[in-house]
């Protein structure tokens, strides 16, 4: 039985710079990590302490699900599974807001960059972007246009996924549903995309858009990871 273990950039020196390793192990997550430790002891001991416990600020996802929400180290691991190791934000995310701004600058269409979005905060499973108020984004009647909010929600999802994966990778929007609940006039909007599931090929997010401390709009997004 073979499973893939995705290794965060901070630990790739332990596996000669590779992004992932394949290990033969059967059973549960503990068995997979024990095999990782057997082959790459230094990588193994950075994930678990000497009594075999997962380190507090190391998160491990089994096929996109946080093992702590499943059965922990006893979580069953199927043949072909993908194990993703991610450092928790509690100890300092390796993907920073500044990294998010670089992704914004490098990967979006000109008119999206013209929204002047900035990354306020990123974490292991979320990103918060600021959409600054601009009269140019207002529709007839003076309120912020829904199109701008949808673009911001879509963009925030890309940053959240990049943060969760430790960097930007190719992806494309599959679906975006938005509800507009209150008009936004004259204030910035904070757009927080929170991943509800990050799998191998798909990512799902809920996006809250808050203006002046109240919820203005919500969206759900689905992305295909290419």
């Amino acid at each position: 039985m073979s499973v893939t273990v995705l290794v965060p950039s901070a630990l790739r020196t332990e596996i000669a710079g590779e992004k992932s390793v394949s290990v033969d192990a059967t059973g549960d997550l503990a068995a997979v990590l024990a095999e990782v430790e057997r082959q790459w002891p230094r990588l193994g001991r950075r994930l678990r302490d000497e009594q075999g416990q997962l380190r507090r600020y190391v998160n491990v996802y089994v096929d996109g699900e946080d093992c702590r929400g499943l059965a922990g180290l006893a979580t069953p691991v199927a043949d072909g599974a993908e194990i993703q190791v991610l450092p928790s934000v509690a100890g300092g995310s390796e993907f920073t807001a500044a990294d998010g701004d670089k992704v914004l600058a490098a990967n979006f269409a000109d008119w999206v960059r013209d929204l002047s979005l900035t990354v306020e905060e990123v974490g292991a499973d979320y990103a918060t972007l600021r959409l600054p108020w601009s009269a140019r984004l207002a529709r007839e009647g003076g309120a912020l246009s829904g199109q701008a909010l949808m673009a911001a929600a879509d963009t925030a999802t890309v940053i959240a996924i990049s943060s969760a994966r430790g960097g930007f990778g190719p992806m494309t929007t599959v679906q975006l549903n938005a509800t507009f609940q209150r008009p936004v006039v004259g204030v910035d909007v904070l757009v927080t995309a929170r991943l509800t599931k990050l799998g191998r090929s798909m990512a799902f997010a809920q996006v809250d858009m808050v203006a002046g401390g109240v919820l203005a709009a919500q969206a759900t997004t689905v992305y295909a990871l290419l």
Partner: protein, 362 residues
């Protein structure tokens, strides 16, 4: 003569070099960035001194790295250098102290002190370590407590002439010593106050902050307590106060002269409940008569109000004569004196908070 200063901070290890007294300090970029370096060590016994660094990643746990080329390159073993054995059901939280073994003993011995409070011994020069089971099994251990910084053995002072004698100190717990090479350990806190306990002079349980051994008369030790500064003249069995000449008996570090007897430094803070230098003045205190009298030293130190804290390992001497003295604050500034505290200069500013310093003359 060149001096190498190891600066352990909350965000990595910085190495500073000064080639000649009077020349500027050169401070490099951080090694092990984004890890907290709570302990550094310099083993002077190899031809090129070996540097030791305790690396503490908030994500990926603690480890130990060594360098045999003065910090140009570092190596870390595959297996965990310091790990609690299976039967202890305990995991290493942090390495707090390194100490090269007795100069009269096996030159490959290096000691390490950890959180939770435990002593580890290396017989390969500090690359890998094993738990000293005899101290771990001490009947007092369940009653050892923890101070604000956590429960740790932070001080290890081997006797330079007798490798069978080692003194350790922990917070809380106090001083323990062995005279039989580590087979048995005794609490030796006679005279040290624990003002925070109903019995203020218990057998053990004191919150000792740091102990330094007199290098000319190794039976003599100096101790900075959680309120109280003490001296022992019997290799750490009994202790008497030497705090009278100080503005305060609170503080964290105490360091002894690397060669000359009866000379030591500390950095007093006003009190447990007021962890500021007295009168907010940045000054160290030196005694040259084993603590009978103390003199402030501040020439060249900042004259602005000083609100920083000097932690227990953030003060050290080098191995030169006259001795260099060093200290650093949680505000990220490091100061050095090339002349035993008579004059001071700033080595670095705006570093992350300083956790520990060690220096060696090359």
């Amino acid at each position: 003569m060149s001096v190498l200063l190891m600066i352990g901070t909350g965000k990595g290890l910085f190495l500073a070099r000064r080639e000649q007294p009077g020349q500027a300090w050169q401070v490099g970029v951080p090694h092990f960035p984004m890890t907290a370096i709570y302990a550094v060590g310099i083993d002077p016994r190899p031809a090129t001194p070996r540097l030791l660094a305790a690396i503490d990643s908030s994500h990926f746990g603690p480890s130990v790295a060594v360098s045999d080329d003065l910090g140009a390159s570092w190596r870390e073993p595959e297996e965990a250098p310091i790990a609690f054995p299976a039967g202890t059901e305990t995991s290493l939280r942090r390495v707090w102290a390194f100490a090269p073994g007795s100069a009269a003993g096996d030159p490959s011995v290096v000691w390490a002190g950890t959180e939770p409070s435990a002593l580890f011994k290396s017989v390969d020069g500090g690359v890998s370590y094993e738990l000293v089971q005899s101290l771990w099994d001490h009947p007092h251990r369940p009653q050892w407590g923890e101070g604000f910084g956590g429960q740790a053995i932070h001080t290890i002072t081997p006797h330079p002439a007798d490798p069978d004698r080692v003194l350790v100190a922990m917070s809380t717990g106090g001083v323990y010593r062995t005279t039989d090479g580590g087979r048995t350990w005794s609490a030796t806190n006679t005279g040290i106050k624990a003002y925070f306990l109903p019995d203020q002079f218990p057998e053990f349980g004191q919150c000792v902050h740091k102990v330094a051994r007199d290098q000319a008369n190794p039976e003599r030790l100096y101790l900075q307590n959680h309120h109280g500064v003490y001296r022992s003249d019997d290799d750490g069995v009994t202790w008497t106060s030497i705090a009278d000449g100080l503005p305060s008996d609170f503080g964290f570090p105490v360091v002894a002269h690397p060669g000359r007897g009866d000379t030591l430094w500390n950095f007093p803070l006003t009190a447990d409940g007021s962890r500021f230098a007295p009168d907010f003045k940045c000054q160290v205190f030196r005694s040259t008569d084993a603590g009978k009298s103390w003199q402030p030293q501040s020439a060249g130190l900042p004259t602005e109000p000083f609100y920083s804290t000097v932690l227990r390992d953030a003060m050290c001497t080098d191995t030169a004569d006259p001795a260099g003295v060093y200290f650093g604050g949680r505000s990220g500034e490091v100061y050095a004196s090339p002349d035993e505290g008579e004059s001071w200069e700033r080595v670095a500013t705006q570093l992350p908070g300083i956790l520990c310093l060690r220096a060696v003359a090359l």
